[in-house]
């Protein structure tokens, strides 16, 4: 089997990488002989993502989302004042908020909380921009919260309309909203299948808004507690919010 060098392997995988002759400081320059196992592993890179990897990615998102909520709870206990939070939170909690997996220059900003209390409805405005465009408003780095206005009982359903506003000068791709499992501080779960979004697909023009309705069904056997999960959108990777439900 013909050996390949690290940089050659890298060039195949990452077209932006430097050619082998231009690398610097690479002291272990001897060729690595690829075993059959290595070849199989490399072949996985070119293939579409396997089921086990997709599962793992989903689990990681859920666990990190759970970490955001837990961190916020701890943060709330440790720091009471907004000033202290401004000083430290970005550093302390950045690990939970950022995802550099896809470098997408989108930021999302919760600009208004116009909750309507009546027939279990609350309304949120989520504003975002498309990559490469500018907005005059400074981004707020908190992940927005979508909190149900009233506690829910097991076996009941409720709907929450929220507004998405595209403040950029470019139209979005068609995207869908989805949510991870909701997890309580006791580790109990409301499966993701109990949270649905309407309409199924959304596309928002520049400066336009769209209304999305979040419908939550609380299974009959759900223990009481505060449940949280991460709402995200396909094709708008950093459009995300924390959905919070209190079950009594």
């Amino acid at each position: 089997m013909k050996g390949e060098h690290y940089m050659q392997e890298k060039s195949k995988i990452n077209p932006k990488s430097e050619p082998a002759g231009e690398k610097k400081g690479n002291t272990a320059a001897s060729a690595i002989e690829l075993t059959s196992v290595a070849q199989e592993v490399f072949s996985q890179i070119a293939k579409s993502t396997s089921r086990v990897v997709q599962q793992a990615a989903s689990i990681l998102e859920e666990e990190v989302a759970a970490g955001i909520v837990a961190a916020k709870e701890v943060e709330g206990k440790l720091f009471d004042t907004r000033d202290i939070r401004k000083e430290n939170k970005e550093v302390l909690f950045s690990r939970f908020r950022k995802d550099a997996h896809e470098v997408v220059d989108i930021f999302m900003d919760l600009v208004g909380v116009a909750a309507k209390y009546g027939i279990n409805l609350t309304q949120r405005m989520i504003t975002f921009t498309v990559p490469g465009t500018k907005t005059e408003e400074a981004p707020v780095s908190d992940v927005p919260k979508l909190e149900m206005p009233e506690p829910m009982k097991p076996g009941t359903e409720t709907e929450v309309p929220m507004e998405l506003e595209n403040k950029s000068r470019e139209v979005t791709d068609v995207f869908s909203m989805y949510c991870t499992d909701l997890i309580s501080s006791q580790g109990k779960r409301i499966a993701a299948g109990n949270i649905t979004f309407a309409p199924d697909t959304i596309k928002i023009g520049p400066g336009q808004t769209a209304r999305v309705t979040v419908k939550v069904s609380v299974p009959r056997t759900t223990p009481a507690g505060s449940y949280s999960g991460l709402v995200q959108a396909t094709n708008l990777y950093q459009l995300r919010a924390i959905l919070i439900i209190r079950v009594v």
Partner: protein, 345 residues
Amino acid sequence: MPAKSYDFVKEVLEDYNALAIKSLFRYIPEQEPRRYLYELVSSYPGRPGKGFRPGLCMATCKAFGGTEHLALQSAVAIELFHNAFLVHDDVEDDSDYRRGERTLNAEYGIPIAVNVGDAMNVLSIRPLMENLSLLGPELTWLVFTEVEHMVRQCVEGQAMELGWVHDNDIHLTEEDYLRMTLKKTCWYTIIHPCRIGALIATGGEADLDRFNRFGYYLGAAFQIQDDLLNLIGDKEKYGKEIGGDLWEGKRTMMLIHLLNSATDDEKEWLGHFLSVPRRQRNLQDVENVYRLMITYDSFGYARSCSRNLAGAALKEFFTAYGDLPDTRDKEFLYRIVLYMIEREL
């Protein structure tokens, strides 16, 4: 397998591990009680280990422009935590061998082993405290927050796995296994060592989430490979009893695959086998489980998952490290991906 392909990885690992272990011994008090505490604290760290965690931590620190010296104390703390976990893990699993020698619980009994593990947990705090003069208060605090998350995730993952055995849960899915592995193994074996290395090197400027997927995929691939080696490895190289996970009833990827593939009768028998305490299981039944795993190709399935995950980890390597200058440490971090799933020990 061309062993020389991994000589470079092994050499770098050995260098970093030697540095970490040498420093680790400085944190073990030279005072009484020696015989049943401090001499035993040095037992596991003194045995030949792979040194993945200090290696990943210090190499990542250097790859991001730092020095191994800056990350050394944090790497020592991680390694001490790791060894404490191993001591307690051996008690929990009733294991006889670790790194080629008798476990502390087998040699000295459970009470002494538990106390030694407790001592190692306590001793790991000191190097983190000493970061204060080296890194300053803010970075020291940030490293503490990383370690706190790391340790908590690990014990939560361990609790999940122990709970499955305690409840004799035979209705587990691959997702259950992957979640448990993330918590029990991946955060503390890969993700946090890398995060801490980059954190220190950049003074808190690096986006540490860049390591999450890389570390998870690599850690899961590593854990599945470790479980495979437990069943089909070479005891001399592996350092633990082969088949120990079957005796123990550990819910591995192979066992979960088997439970989800077996007929109803076979599953009922497996449920009964797993309900029996470890010391009451017999060789014939253990061999029968092994044969069933061969029949349903559970080893092949697990191996395939491990390689899929390793492939994904290689892909994620470029998210985690792709924008850094090419250095010896970056190359080491790249090559360690394949090494971790092709290793025999």
